[in-house]
Symmetry: C2
């Protein structure tokens, strides 16, 4: 039930339409949260019914009306309560590791190929992160930036560090698989 808190957090920073939030999930927000547009619209509907957000309808020609959402006092209250309760540690399921467990059936060569495929994706991620860092944060005084920007720096740093750790692990995996030490 954390999506609602993501939405409240975003709306606490600035008003937004569902469409805009969804766009954010494909960009900056997407580095640490994913949600489909169906989820976002549904949750915004619920939050409205429960009085945690409200919206101003903006008429448009030849398009569905925009709904510009705002957090309400009640919503801000709920957000503060959530922020104050410690998050449960995340457990995550990693398909690639399962495939490694099944590696005997697949064979070292095909396993390596799969890992290399993911390496490509991770390398792209890292370049994206580094480009954002170079453009927005390097050679700048953090206190000069808006609070919203500053708060995004820690997630970005986390992305950089964990992606590097992943690539580092992939190097090691490659060595162990190529030497036939594992499969």
């Amino acid at each position: 039930m954390a999506l609602r808190h993501v939405l409240l957090t975003v709306l606490q920073q600035h008003e937004a339409t569902g469409y805009e939030i969804i766009r954010d999930f494909d960009h900056a927000l997407g580095f640490f949260w994913h949600a489909s547009h169906q989820q976002v619209y549904r949750e915004l509907g619920r939050l409205t019914r429960e009085g945690l957000v409200d919206y101003q309808a903006i008429e448009q020609r030849s398009r569905p009306d925009k709904k510009r959402y705002r957090i309400t006092d009640q919503g801000r209250q709920a957000l503060i309560e959530w922020l104050a309760t410690p998050a449960a540690p995340r457990r995550f399921n990693d398909e690639l590791l399962v495939k490694i467990l099944g590696g005997e059936l697949l064979g070292a060569e095909r396993l390596l190929k799969e890992i290399e495929h993911h390496r490509g994706i991770q390398e792209d991620r890292l370049s994206t992160f580094l480009a954002i860092e170079a453009e927005h944060y390097r050679n700048r005084n953090l206190p000069e930036l808006s609070m919203e920007y500053r708060l995004l720096y820690l997630p970005l740093r986390k992305g950089i560090k964990t992606t590097r750790a992943w690539l580092d692990w992939a190097d090691e995996a490659r060595t162990l698989l190529k030497d036939g030490k594992i499969v």
Copy 2:
């Protein structure tokens, strides 16, 4: 729909009861996959109905009968097909990072406290991983170990590297938050 493939992978290595698999999820398997006992029993039921696994009932006094599951040829076939199709890259949702985004409302001090709380958990994880590595893998020739053990080494290494990256990030976060550069 990947839980079924985890179950097939485990059963491909050796026969097991649902109970035993659940126990594994709390131990070695748990480092990269989590599933509740309800999920496991239900999925084993489905796999049986679909003919991908079968089981031998073992009568017991004063306890529910054990069901010792085996993978079938059809199941092995399904597993091979799944192994051969590349996994989609994982996207994951990180509550802690959302809280950082909402950090303005919470304040740097409470944010730090929350991060320290998670640090404790991650440090425990790392010690566990290192203990397992020391006991089972360090100062050993990998090829001497059973295939099953060897295959578990890569996930373990991944756990070690990513947990270290996490702790490393937490150090940085602490510095930035303490200096008041972020919040």
